[in-house]
């Protein structure tokens, strides 16, 4: 087991240090120009901004050049991801495509799809959604019922996906559809991944508003929506074989504990340059915890870079990251309890804290719930 828990102490190489400088300079310029508010609150979906990032070469960084990628390292991508995340930059348009949809297509997609879509992702023009959950199957992906039925030259899709983030803005969706019934021997059998063009007739998108009032989730209804054969991603009936490596990318990134990092910086600001012992200890523990998380995440990026599939380590980073980030607004609230309301930035702090408190419950949902992750870790430990 000990070998499973390897976390080498990676030092980011010089090209990452140089790149970070470059990204920071770009971000600072954009903030000065009023493109977005680093304290959050701006719409995270921006066509203009994503195209600028694409032009910089910061989308599809690790992908082959022949598909518009830049053949740079995972560690360089890591630096770009964390700098944009911490700055609250509006990257929603391209982020899912860059993190997971693109890599899945590169690995399993048809050549036509690769040539058609990947270069446009790299330019920052394409938004992807992920169509996995259904009204009666969430964490239990393999219970999916939305059906793909073979027809002349393609497939007809019928059924409903739900909790689909970005669907109302997405150009494409990678969907998990049932092409055969599950077998007795393998309940995971019978599902196939497709790249779905969202302009396809027969697709209806209904908003599902979140408790914050925001619109991110959607219900996506398919009624005889036609998918050409070359939209199949990977093996028919064999999607389950393709899922695991994808998850290591999805779970271990810095976005898994930096989504509400502004709570910590705002807390430091509101407690001032000479906090009392309680405030200092509280900040110190939070900083130590997030530092440790980040070092783990860097280490996993290094393992991905080296061609490994650190599935258990990635699940651990997501589990610890989620728990930490879910507790963060509550700890910040405790630590700021005695701050004078008239002190500097108190109003901003309260506003950001309110928002972070409200979104904290969803952090477990994205990228695998805490229960699912602990099941994966337990399997890695040899317990099941």
């Amino acid at each position: 087991m000990a070998t499973e828990l390897t976390f080498d102490a990676i030092r980011l190489p010089p090209e990452c240090v140089a790149l970070r400088k470059e990204v920071r300079a770009f971000i600072a310029k954009e903030i000065d120009a009023g493109t977005f508010d680093p304290h959050g609150g701006t719409d995270a979906y921006s066509e203009e901004f994503s195209r600028k990032i694409g032009a910089k070469g910061w989308i599809g960084m690790t992908w082959p050049k022949k598909y518009g990628g830049h053949e740079r390292s995972f560690l360089e991508r890591f630096v770009v991801t964390e700098e944009f995340r911490v700055a609250n930059a509006p990257v929603r348009l391209h982020f899912t495509a860059d993190r997971q949809s693109g890599p899945v297509i590169i690995r399993y997609g048809s050549e036509r799809i690769k040539n058609d879509i990947l270069p446009r992702i790299c330019k920052g023009e394409v938004c992807f959604a992920i169509g996995m959950s259904e009204p009666n199957s969430g964490s239990d992906l393999f219970a999916a019922k939305t059906k793909a039925t073979k027809t002349n030259g393609g497939w007809l899709i019928n059924g409903t996906k739900i909790w689909t983030s970005n669907a109302h803005q997405a150009h494409y969706l990678i969907g998990l559809f049932r092409t055969s019934p599950a077998t007795k021997e393998n309940r995971r059998h019978g599902l196939t991944q497709f790249v779905v063009d969202m302009k396809t007739p027969g697709i209806t998108i209904n908003p599902v508003y979140q408790m914050t009032g925001q619109h991110d989730f959607n219900e996506v209804v398919f009624q005889d929506a036609f998918m050409p054969d070359d939209c199949v991603v990977g093996e028919i009936d064999g999607a389950w074989k393709q899922a695991t490596s994808e998850l290591a990318y999805e779970r271990s990134g810095p976005e898994r504990f930096l989504e509400t990092f502004y709570v910590l910086t705002q807390l430091v600001e509101v407690l001032g340059d000479k906090p009392d012992t309680r405030g200092a200890e509280g900040i110190g523990r939070l900083v130590a915890q997030v530092h440790a998380l980040r070092r783990m995440s860097v280490s996993v990026a290094g393992m991905l870079h080296a061609g490994k599939e650190p599935v258990v380590q990635a699940a651990i980073v997501k589990d610890l990251g989620t728990i930490w980030e879910q507790k963060l607004p509550h700890k910040a609230r405790d630590l700021a309890a005695f701050v004078a309301p008239e002190s500097a930035n108190h109003a901003t702090f309260e506003e950001r804290l309110t928002y972070a408190t409200m979104i904290a419950p969803k952090l477990t949902i994205q990228g695998g719930t805490t229960e699912i992750l602990r099941g994966i870790i337990a399997r890695g430990l040899g317990l099941r």
């Binding site: 980011l12 705002q266 900040i283």
Partner: protein, 364 residues
């Protein structure tokens, strides 16, 4: 401090040294054997074997009587020592040798310890070269042949001194780990050697080194605790199945694995930072302080989960679990506990201001 470039080579050498340490430690300090032993007779041959292999003075250059290993080699050895909950002053002697070497003082043979290990404790070197002052809790002072201490010269400036244990008043005491933890006082003691401390080597630097050493020991002990907890859950049958099959137990062990993983990552990162730093700068402070805080938290959480999984058998003298959990609790306290470092780190972050936080975290 050692400075060094190039990642490939040092990792190999750290692995080699750690492998040698593992072999010896398993052989001479196997936790089962030690736990069953009727007395401490195993300790002398165990120490002799460690000394013979050069592990006790790994951080001392050959010219000063040591093995001349790199810092990360020694830290890797400490993780292995933690894996067997070694009840010998290996970390203490390593640190003492390192401290002496910083000032160019040769290390004697035999067990040593070092100080001060807590903030605010001060020793003074008088103009006539004698040493005075009191240290409240020094691990393994009882049984050490020499002490390596950092002291303030009456005329100003810091110095490193090597003192024979017979020159100190050492009060018997045992810490929560079951190992010696002693009050030590000097009153006009005559050191065997005194030299000026190099620039940058102050009380906090020694605490940072000690904190990282303890973090590595705790990471190793936590790994062992995970292994034995998983093995027990797979063997122990209740309600007609192995308790490992119960989801509640699985999730507890998954949480334990998370704490072990974060301990390995944080301690390893701090050790790596120290091994490649040129000075006790801000980056080293962040790494070592954060490691001691987070690994200390993991020690508390991890020990609690392991005891939960093992139930009554884990609470017996007969089972080896206590050899690990008691030392995890003890090592949390040495060289600054979580709260101590958190206040220091929090104050540093506050003084830099909110805008300085992310650049500091992302520096590595």
């Amino acid at each position: 401090m050692h400075t060094k470039n190039g990642q490939g080579m040092h990792m190999d050498s750290a692995n080699l040294v750690a492998e040698a340490a593992t072999r010896i430690l398993r052989d001479v300090a196997d936790p089962q054997t030690v736990n069953r032993a009727a007395n401490d007779a195993w300790k002398a041959p165990a120490w002799a074997a460690l000394e013979e292999a050069g592990l006790t003075l790994a951080w001392v250059p050959e010219g000063l009587g040591g093995a001349g290993a790199e810092l990360d080699d020694g830290f890797a050895v400490l993780r292995e020592a933690g894996r067997v909950a070694a009840a010998v002053p290996l970390a203490e002697t390593l640190l003492a040798g390192w401290l002496l070497a910083q000032a160019g003082i040769a290390s004697p043979k035999g067990a040593m310890t070092c100080g001060p290990t807590r903030d605010g404790e001060k020793l003074t070197l008088a103009g006539n070269g004698t040493l005075s002052g009191a240290l409240r809790s020094v691990p393994f002072a009882s049984g050490a042949e020499h002490l390596a201490v950092l002291a303030r010269r009456e005329g100003g400036g810091a110095a490193v001194a090597l003192v024979e244990a017979s020159q100190a008043r050492i009060t018997e005491g045992t810490g929560i780990g079951g190992d010696p933890l002693n009050a030590v006082s000097f009153s006009g003691a005559r050191p065997s050697a005194v030299k000026d401390a190099p620039a940058g080597l102050d009380g906090q630097a020694l605490l940072l080194m000690g904190a990282t050493a303890r973090a590595m020991q705790m990471a190793g002990a936590l790994e062992a605790v995970l292994d034995l907890s998983v093995a027990y859950a797979n063997e122990r049958v209740a309600f007609e199945r192995a308790i490992a099959k119960f989801q509640a137990v699985q999730h507890n062990l998954a949480r334990l694995a998370g704490e072990v993983a974060v301990a390995i990552a944080a301690a390893g990162s701090a050790a790596d930072a120290l091994a490649h730093a040129g000075a006790f700068d801000e980056a080293v402070f962040l790494e070592a302080a954060a490691a001691k805080i987070r690994v200390g938290e993991a020690a508390g959480e991890g020990a609690a989960i392991a005891h939960q999984v093992l139930g009554a058998i884990g609470f017996t003298q007969e089972h080896i679990l206590h050899r690990f959990t008691r030392r995890l609790w003890a090592w949390r306290d040495d060289f600054g506990n979580e709260s101590f470092w958190a206040v220091k780190l929090g104050n540093m972050v506050a003084a830099k201001g909110a805008d300085g936080l992310w650049p500091m975290l992302a520096a590595r």
